[in-house]
Amino acid sequence: MDETRPVKIQVRGLSKVFGKQPKKALELRDQGLKRPEILEKTGQTLGLSDISFDVYEGELLVIMGLSGSGKSTLIRCLNRLIDTTEGEIVIDGENIPTLGEKALLECRRRHFSMVFQNFALFPHRTVQQNAEFGLEIRGVEKSERQSIAHNALKQVGLEGWEDAYPNQLSGGMQQRVGLARALANDASVLLMDEAFSALDPLIRKDMQQELLQLQSKMQKTTVFITHDLDEALNIGDRIVLLKDGEVVQIGTPEEILTKPADDYVRRFIEGVDRSRILTAESAMRPVRTTARDSDGPRTALHRMRDHSIDSIYVTDRDRQLLGLLEADAASRAIEAKAETITDHLTQDFRKVPPDEPLQNLFAMFSEKSYPIAVVDEQQRLLGVVVKGAVLDELARAGEQ
């Protein structure tokens, strides 16, 4: 992962004790005691222990764990719905746990929108008024907040429902209102607390897709809580895995799947449909050799012979993929006394983005035997995937 991206929220050494003598509980923790022993000795619950992670600007970070792992506590510490016991949460230079009452209000208004598991819509307000809530609290002028809220409702597909009351809507639609309320607020971070967990599975999948689409458009920094690994793998740019109030692993979905940090994670990921998660990138190999557009046909053919391959990808100076040169075509170019190879390229090959699911690649191999090119958004050649590598990757993942 690109570690140089700007950090939006920095969490360092965050702990939370539920009880009246938190110091004592933390002392025991420092002596190496775990949650159950601390509970037995002091009657206090160690909700979170020494949590550190970063949330990068614009990423969708999933905090995942089973019930009791502390994930709900953690997200509530971020905007201080729950006070922390020790540690730092820094957002844009402000340390949230030490803010005064006024500064905290200001910080919540500027930085945080929140979407709740059971929607938490205001039953006495219309859909429109619900969407306006955050803006109303901030004192945004009426006509302005109405139009912003209207746009937010449009974004989540609720145009025409402005005057309905929440109890007239289905669960999925209610959560769209919750999402619109958060989007309208235009805070810099979106907190989603098990936002889709109360929805039935089909609606849930839809909402995940829509969130991803919104996310690709808006690039809003998002912290998403879930207990569902599939959901985490599906939507997360990165995942923070919690267990008993401690971080077990932080990584991309692929890292979690392919390099589980310990047995706990390994057990956790059993039963995940791997082929859906593994992507072209994980099976990709670096290209052993390519031809340049300025190369003559002889040079290109020579390279193919050297690497005993019968086709070669051709790129320009910026590694932008121009086409594929087959050995036959190269021979014909030599006969035709061509100076360069650019006129003899074929476009009859497959290229995919790095995040293309592996299972889609299977179908492509049945059509052509060329390695599949993996290109980024600028059409630069990142690597190739050969048939055997896909099978290898799947088999390896299956064994774990």
Binding site: L105, R109, M114, H124, I137, Y165
Partner: protein
Amino acid sequence: MEITRIPLGSWIESGLTWLTSEYSVVTRGISRVTQTGINSLNDGLMWLPEWALLAIIALLCWKLASTRLAIGAVAGLALIWNLGLWNPMIETLTLVVIATLVAVVIALPVGIAAALSERLYRVIMPVLDFMQTMPAFVYLIPAIPFFGIGSVSAIFATVIFSMPPAIRFTTLGIRQVPVELIEASDAYGATRGQKLFKVQLPLSLPTVMAGINQTIMLALSMVVIAAMIGADGLGSEVWRAIQRLRPGDGFEAGIAVVILAMLLDRLTQSLRKSRRS
């Protein structure tokens, strides 16, 4: 061994005497203001011809509640008019309205404060228990030295007796607002005031209205009893019937009280239901 009797009664008496003499300026002031209020409301309602007031009430019932209630109101009020109990009914209504207003004005802020502060809640709840379980007649006795015989004393006793449900229901209503909604308003950076007026109060309104309904009912029962210390109205009709041993008159006045009670109850309940839940 003989245990000395604790002179609880005489302590309370001397306390009351002290209060009466020390604060006579205050009590007299309250008395004057309240009496003026009672008189003007009475005069206003009586200035209207019977049929006009009847029409207004019927219209109110029809608008706020149902046609059925409007018809019932017309029939009931016409009966009271026919029995010659119109003016006592107005006097009773006045006492109920003023006592309820005073009770609600005190009860709402107290109820809100008790809902928001755990400490205040713990102090106020036993006080409310005391106010509600103390036999209602007892309030009549200190009322007299404070405000003299008559309607002002009746209002004083009635306010004390009828206020607890309004406080309790207000507190309950606010405490019943789901934690999630409180979290939601906190998460969006609402101040305490914004939370109270935009979320907690609107959501507790149905419960608060139920409390006010209870207060009105208690106030009605108390102003009738307050006839014993000289309050005017239907109560004094009943009181007179008892003294003269005329059960017929007593029942007539009693039925008028029942009609008034039902009317007030249905009307306030419909107010509560007409709000969206």
